[in-house]
Amino acid sequence: MKNPYYPIDTVVEDIITETPTIKTFCLKPKKPIAFRAGQFMQLTVPGVGEAPFTPSSDPNISEKMEISILKTGKVTDALHELKPGAKVGLRGPFGKGYPLDKLVGKEVLVVGGGVGLAPMRALLYALFNDPSKYKKIVIKFGAREPEELSFRRQYDEWGSLAPNISLQTTIDVPHPKWDGHVGLVTSILDDLDINIPDSYALSCGPEIMLKFVTLKLLEVGYKPPQIYLSMNRKMSCGMGKCGRCNVGHYYLCVDGPDMCYDKIKHVPNVFG
């Protein structure tokens, strides 16, 4: 039998600074770990603890994995202190991942904010695998300041990968080094060049952003079954056993973390 609590020995091969508070950790587990976009891992810092993170790397690659992490507490502080060569542990993958099958033949809207861009990058890699399978891929990213936009070195490349892909970014408040759009990410969701009835929207970001993105999407004509949100709850086991991560009767670690809004819209305080 397998012990699902054991963290697989993993080496941090490289660390990329994405923003002042986000670093991407390039990891090599002792044996390949196959995952689907949106599935998450439990990452162990030995002796400190575990926390859930969704890989930000290409799901087609299983020998290595990248995870982009915002520094915010005990485990993530310890992660940000690590140097290449450090030993960590990985368990997983857990959860369902993004509903990729549903997206085929559709116009896909991807809305990300802050560290939420990390899981979205894995989704984009999966979509970019064969962009022609989707009618359109419309990407909308937001952050507080220009330097807080993760992966910005890749945006030009992504936007020009295929004619049906577009990418727009925004920052919350004006900045001397920014000549792009200014305003919350919801402000670039008004005039979508999308046939909404034929579309799915997926969003990942802080809960407060998810809340306002959802309200905006509903306002512009999306129906709850067309909206997928990457939800966040405290987790421990990652496999539906410890009882911690529920949203209503769903366990995010098993039924999510990306949840169809239609399933959870009735849950009180769903956005925390």
Binding site: N3, Y5, Y6, G47, G243, Y250, Y251, H266
Partner: protein, 350 residues
Amino acid sequence: MRFIDSTNFERLLKKLSSEGELFVPVRDEDSGKLHLQRAESFPLPEGTTFDGYRTVESLKAFGQLVRSTVAEYPMPDGEAFESEGQFPTFVVVGAKACDLYALKMVDKVLIEGEFTDPFYQSRRDHMIIISADCSECAESCFCNLLGKRPFPEEGFDLNISRISGGFLVEAGSLRGEEVISANEEFFTEPRPGQAKARDDVRAKVIEELENNNRDFPEATVMTEPLRELLTDDLWSGEAARCVECGACTNICPTCYCFLLFDQREGNESYRRISSWDSCQVTGYARMAGMGTPRAHLSDRVKHRFYHKYDYLVLSHGEIYCTGCGRCIDACSAGIDMRDVFRKVKAQAAK
């Protein structure tokens, strides 16, 4: 079905005790309550009885230790779980029907699904269960409100029903049948009238339960109204009395929630611990950056009821409460599940 007299039953237990650690219900002289106790030698401890109702403790701790190591890392081949020699066999005698229902519910969570908790599974595999009918019920017992009966129908290796001079014995598993066939000399065929004697006791206990609980509605009144989202007054009312001790979840045989955390062992070695946890305490669901989705005590009290009477019905197909009433006995604030059923029913009727 077979008959075994009391002397032979003790002989049988003595034999079985060579297979593992024997646990029996022992009556505490002062409180009159039963506690599961290890019987390390024979004769059985004074006060041992297979009559009465459930013990104070459930069987939860046999499957899920209060605190246990679930991984030591790094380790060569640490992912492979080897059950061989890890756990002792437990021979648990006198478990009641509610205890068995609870085990089955927790099995569903910890064993079934894409992942299995190998520690739990292995401890469960190492349990020999000799259950017993209830011969009376406690004031707090309410299994009848959950459509359950006070005598075991499944989930045991052997079940015993006290009748004059000994017990009627039923096998509920292959292992149970083997125990009987390996110890034929202890058993006889039941005499006419013995089955009726057993059924009379069963009927008497059911009647007692129905009498005790006649003022309360069935637990199914919870499920639908909860889904309809009752107003929060109900929960703040219960929360006003709750002292947040977590006794209800600790004593509950179907509360299985746990927390994983890591400890440093040596220079470069670490231990991962799994420990019982309670949704009634603040830290349980706290998250990075945004506090907890259940900041108020009333949210947590409410969560306990929703989890048992609604969420698990939707995700695992049944109410996760056996009506054992342990939470009622354990609550220093006097919160009574049945009272909540009644309030919910009243509110739903409005």
